[in-house]
């Protein structure tokens, strides 16, 4: 009787984080450095391709969480013939939270600065037609304050830098209502963020950046001009941002979006003024995402 040889395979005890590449113990739930769910890595390992990261960035209070939650929910409902399958139950948390709040005529709470509290969504997205390309999308919901801190002082939140470095495309939200009211704040913040993106993503400093960036004028229900002509609006009201995009980005486009049909103001238990979404009428949510996918 022949005895079979025993081969001992080297047992992996650590795995590199998909986002920041820190080695983590197998049983770890979230990355010790960037807080990304390790389930992302386990899911990604099952695929024979690298997941595609699309980041939604923007200033604090610009509507990133609502935009992302609504986008994921619309994709799950097969809007525009998309099919989106969440990879892991944790991926559903963001859309669940956003939809629950909006259907109760409330906005979801602000995303916390702490990385552990961010929602991560990992979806397999494809058009529902034969032979359509499948995208494995990782879309985290980052806190605006964290993005601002990282832009102001790079390496404050290394996870943001790692994420953007690995991003195949980005959706930049700019407060259209504020810009329409004449505030220079949205233009300056977007300018800083795009400069940061340029620094992080560009491989050759001399050439224009290939990564597609969709600039979305959010809260456009307050600014019909944003919908009528987003490019024209940006050139007039976000001129610094427009010029930078033209100079440094090979693929950029302007869009307008809103989730809220009408807004009312009331108070909370501490008598602070709070906005209430009176009814929900999403518009322009899918278009930027669709455009980014078309450029990947």
């Amino acid at each position: 009787m022949t005895r079979m040889a025993t081969i001992t395979l080297p047992k992996k005890t650590t795995l590199p984080c998909l986002i920041c590449e820190t080695q983590n113990q197998l049983e770890t739930l979230v990355c010790s450095t960037c807080g990304a769910p390790m389930a992302l890595i386990h899911e990604a390992l099952l695929l024979d391709r690298d997941p595609c990261i699309v980041t939604v960035v923007g200033d604090s209070n610009v509507g990133k969480t609502v935009y992302l939650g609504m986008l994921l929910d619309m994709l799950s409902k097969r809007a525009e013939d998309f099919e989106a399958v969440p990879k892991g139950a944790y991926s559903v948390n963001l859309q669940h939270t956003v939809i629950s709040y909006l259907s109760n005529r409330q906005f979801p709470p602000k995303t916390a600065m702490e990385i552990d509290d961010w929602h991560w969504a990992y979806y397999q997205v494809a058009r529902r037609k034969f032979g359509a390309k499948i995208y494995d999308l990782v879309m985290p919901d980052m806190a605006g304050e964290a993005i601002a801190a990282e832009v102001a002082n790079p390496k404050t939140f290394t996870v943001i830098r790692s994420l953007l470095e690995k991003s195949a495309g980005a959706i930049l939200l700019v407060d259209g209502a504020l810009a329409a009211a004449g505030s220079p704040q949205p233009d300056f913040f977007a300018l800083k963020l795009m400069t940061y993106l340029d620094g992080v993503m560009a491989s050759k400093r001399m050439s224009r950046l290939d990564t597609p960036v969709a600039v979305v004028l959010s809260k456009a229900d307050y600014c019909p001009a944003c919908f009528d002509d987003p490019r024209g609006f940006a050139q007039t009201n976000l001129n610094r941002l427009w010029n930078l995009c033209e100079s440094r980005f090979a693929h950029f486009e302007f869009f307008a979006a809103t989730v809220v049909g009408a807004l009312g103001y009331g108070s909370d238990e501490s008598r602070n003024v709070v906005p209430y979404p009176l009814h929900i009428a999403p518009r322009g949510i899918l278009e930027p995402f669709e455009w980014v996918l078309s450029k990947l």
Binding site: G261, A262, Y265, G266, P282
Partner: protein, 341 residues
């Protein structure tokens, strides 16, 4: 081929150098496809002109005066027939209006009795509203409340002409002639209603028409005009996937018992009731400007629970949203063809 490509590239480059923004592709397509409605010749005769403009209720309001005109009797008869077809009787009932934003079970409600009245079967279409614009309705101050006079100049279309926000050169897109007119503020809706001799329905009248909460022992109240269950095949909301407005005559199987169409879906409908609710802490919920109640949901209403016969919401009176239109109402006492006067 090479030459054409080269030419196109150069033209784009030139436009950029001149500081002109390349037109967004979607806008370019929309603009190219826009088919302005043709101008109509207008009747010289006053009563015939009123009839041509769809001001049937206005004709009947001055029945005695118009009756004296030559051929007036015939026009009056035709106006009655038109209104008979275009309007439906909504019976008396009682409506309970939630006083809080959350409208949670057990929260404060006000019960309001509704008298029978007449309601348009369809929402006002682009074609019907065109007659108001063509007749100089935006310059006729008698149809506009005084507080809006300074803002009348802002009620323009995409090309700066008076008219709904999404029109061009004061013309609607003829392909949308039988779609509900949208991009009109509450003031424009009210001015149109007054011009044709009608009025906007109150919030409780609208809800009565959609819910049929009759004054009888059954105490039955419909959640939707067709019954109690949402059916995306009976109305045009986000999940119906039309992606925009549809003609006002569609979805006949979603009609109310009196054949009033599209009370739920397609477009939110302005009412003449100011929006007043409180939050959960008893404070008022207000807009940045005065708000009026809109009802029924629209083609882009995402939550089915927001497109029902009892869901209350508001819109800023000056908002000219792409999803908001209106229909007109009339007191029963003015319906001479019904009450026999």
């Amino acid at each position: 081929m090479t030459l054409r490509l080269f030419t196109r590239k150069k033209a784009g480059h030139q436009a950029r150098r001149n500081g002109r923004v390349p037109v967004h592709p979607s806008l370019e397509t929309q603009s190219a496809k826009y088919q302005p409605a043709p101008y109509e010749s207008v009747e010289d005769d006053k009563i015939k002109r009123n009839f041509q403009q769809g001001r049937f209720a206005m004709i009947l309001r001055d029945e005695q005066k118009w009756g004296a005109y030559s051929g007036g009797g015939e026009v009056i008869g035709n106006a009655k027939r038109e209104l008979e077809q275009r309007m439906a009787l909504v019976p008396a009932g009682t409506i309970a209006i939630a006083q809080t934003l959350s409208a949670a079970p057990g929260s404060a409600e006000e019960e309001i009795a509704v008298e029978p009245f007449l309601l348009d079967v369809h929402t006002v279409t682009h074609a019907r509203y065109q007659k108001f614009v063509d007749a100089g309705g935006y310059d006729a101050l008698e149809y506009w409340p005084e507080e809006i006079w300074p803002h009348l100049i802002e009620l323009k279309d995409l090309t700066g002409q008076p008219g709904p926000r999404l029109w061009r050169q004061a013309r609607h897109d003829s392909r949308l002639a039988d779609h509900p007119v949208v991009g009109v503020s509450w003031y424009e809706a009210q001015a149109y209603a007054l011009w044709i001799g009608q009025r906007l329905p109150s919030e409780v009248e609208w809800e009565m028409a959609a819910s049929w909460h009759l004054n009888n022992s059954t105490d039955m109240m419909r959640r939707f005009p067709w019954g109690d269950a949402m059916d995306k095949k009976r109305c045009n909301i986000w999940s119906s996937r039309a992606g925009g407005t549809i003609p006002v005559g569609e979805y006949s199987h979603g009609a109310a018992p009196n054949h009033v169409l599209q009370l739920v879906g397609n477009v939110w409908e302005w009412t003449d009731t100011e929006f007043a609710v409180t939050d959960d802490y008893g404070g008022p919920v207000v807009g940045e400007m005065p708000m009026y109640v809109v009802r029924g949901g629209a083609f882009d209403t995402y939550f089915e629970a927001q497109a029902t016969s009892h869901f209350r919401t508001g819109q800023i009176a000056l908002a000219r949203a792409q999803n908001t239109g209106f229909r007109c109402a009339m007191d029963l006492s003015e319906a001479s063809w019904i009450n026999g006067s």
